[in-house]
Amino acid sequence: MAASPNAAPQLIGTSGDSLREAFGKALADLADRDPRIVVLDADIAGGTGAHHFRTRHRDRFIQCGIAEQNMMAMAAGLAATGHVPVVTTFAVFCLRAIEQARLSIAYARRNVKIVASHPGIDVGPDGGSAQALEDLAAFRAIPGMTVLSPADPLDMAAAIEAAIAFDGPIYMRTGRSPATRIYERRDDFEIGKGHVLRDGKDVAIIACGVEVARALAAADLLANDGIAASVVNMATIKPIDHALLEELSARTGAIVTAEDHNTLGGLGGAVAESLALHRPCPAEFVGVRDQFGRSGEPGELAELFGLTAPAIAAAARRVIARKSP
């Protein structure tokens, strides 16, 4: 289970590209080689990163206007005629078209990738209306829908490559704010596998998206107190990596999840289900506690809603205190 040397995390600590930018650039590159890829946009390409694709592949960029329901179901028709459609909009507007994703895409098993930018309170100043805290839970409940939420620009690039190579519907979160870099290289991305970034026996922190960098920082805080924390980049929320969770539960006996999402039903829910099924142990869930977000800078909001490294470390201490003796 130890992290492979290649994948050793380097918490560079600088803010680089946002995940949405990384997504857009990687997709444009992939499309150079893969003529099947088409991109659908709902008048928001500058926000989702899809503008990078547009610049390079104008003829495969489909401007749908501000009409997410039609966009989502049209993607199914494009997939049926041999294209690999990538549907792009904000996470909250993906939710507006979830019934189309369910019926026309997932039920019909169409090979469509839904890529959602602007998830969680990381959205910042736009405020609560735009901060999707429900999408992981909602899309996870759709039968056969794979759900991804990568952690940094390299992880993102690897994830979109894997998503395009995968045959089936996928919902994937990107992110709005500049992302802390975690990986120096990421050539071992595998859908369905969590990636152990740091190995520690006292507690395991399972995170996705922007929370992975904070989880690593939390592990540093804990290390100062002599607590050894494992940290996992759980970039695949569904199907969840049961084997890894079982192993971590056995070895650490205490789990913390961390996500920029409601604590109900998302990564925390997926991990809780897996633990209960395979190897129960105490867990704590870091996320937004069933409230709506509000305007503010992402960092301020992380403080306000308790999504910071110290908040994760505090949850780790709580769950360690609950371990069965």
């Binding site: 088409v38 003829d59 495969r60 489909i62 749908c64 206007g65 009409a67 329901q69 039609n70 989502m72 179901a73 049209m74 993607a75 199914a76 028709g77 494009l78 997939a79 049926a80 005629t81 041999g82 294209h83 459609p85 019934e99 189309q100 019926l103 026309s104 039920y107 019909a108 098993r109």
Partner: protein, 302 residues
Amino acid sequence: MTLLAAETLPETLAPHAVSFPYLASLAVTTRRLAIAGIFNAGSGHPGGSLSSADLLAALYGAELYIPGGDATNPVRDRFVLSKGHAAPALYGIWAAMGWLSPEEAVTLRHRDSRCQGHPHVLDLPLSEASTGSLGQGFSVAIGMALGTRMKGLSSRAYALLGDGELQEGEVWEGAMFAAHHDLSNLLAVIDYNKLQSDDLNANICGLEPLASKWRAFGWHAIEIDGHDLPEIIGAFAAASRVTDRPTVVIAHTVKGKGVPYMENEAPWHGSVKLTRDQASEALLALGVAADRLEDWIHGRIA
């Protein structure tokens, strides 16, 4: 709007030599099998299945290019039943075309049947899309029209919509998109039977002036009698000559058409259970001989 002379049309779009008696026979078989299926299922939507039978007969019998009913042929036309609750009629027309066994067509809604309550493309690929939630099939068909055009194929995409379905905003999103993109390889057909589940459109949420709505959304609109086969065929031919925009055929129909006790009678418009007597009366009205009732109910139509 530019009109292309017929002789300049690609071969697959050229007018066929149409046999109206043949189309009429397809329609009647469709109606009978729809009734048989709904009876066997113990539930289903007879009103909207019967109203669309002539449209389906004209589409499959004379308009759609789907050689041998092969749903893997990339240059085939795509037909999406956006009003998915008319599935009994869809299975009926396929059986009439010889693309599905009539015995299977009447296993509608049974646990082990591919004839799901609403068309499901994984069970029956000719469905092209999985429908049942109104509005979506239309969008899927638009995606197909665009998708084949981007690939340089001559395929056309067709969608059959209910009138009540037009209350879904998704339809107007799609209408605006298709017009903006000049999707002249897209044809929408409205089964304008004036009724939806509960009542008349006019009582629920009026649609008139319907053709004006479509025209204001940039479509070429043609109004016809949806039970008059030559009119239907004529509308399709006219549509195929419109090359700068999508066309909608607003087909005025009668809900429950062909079964007098159902025609325009509200209770037959939603999902209902047919008794054996009701099914028999319907089949008799549709010209089944008294001694063949049991055969038709089991799809033994030879």
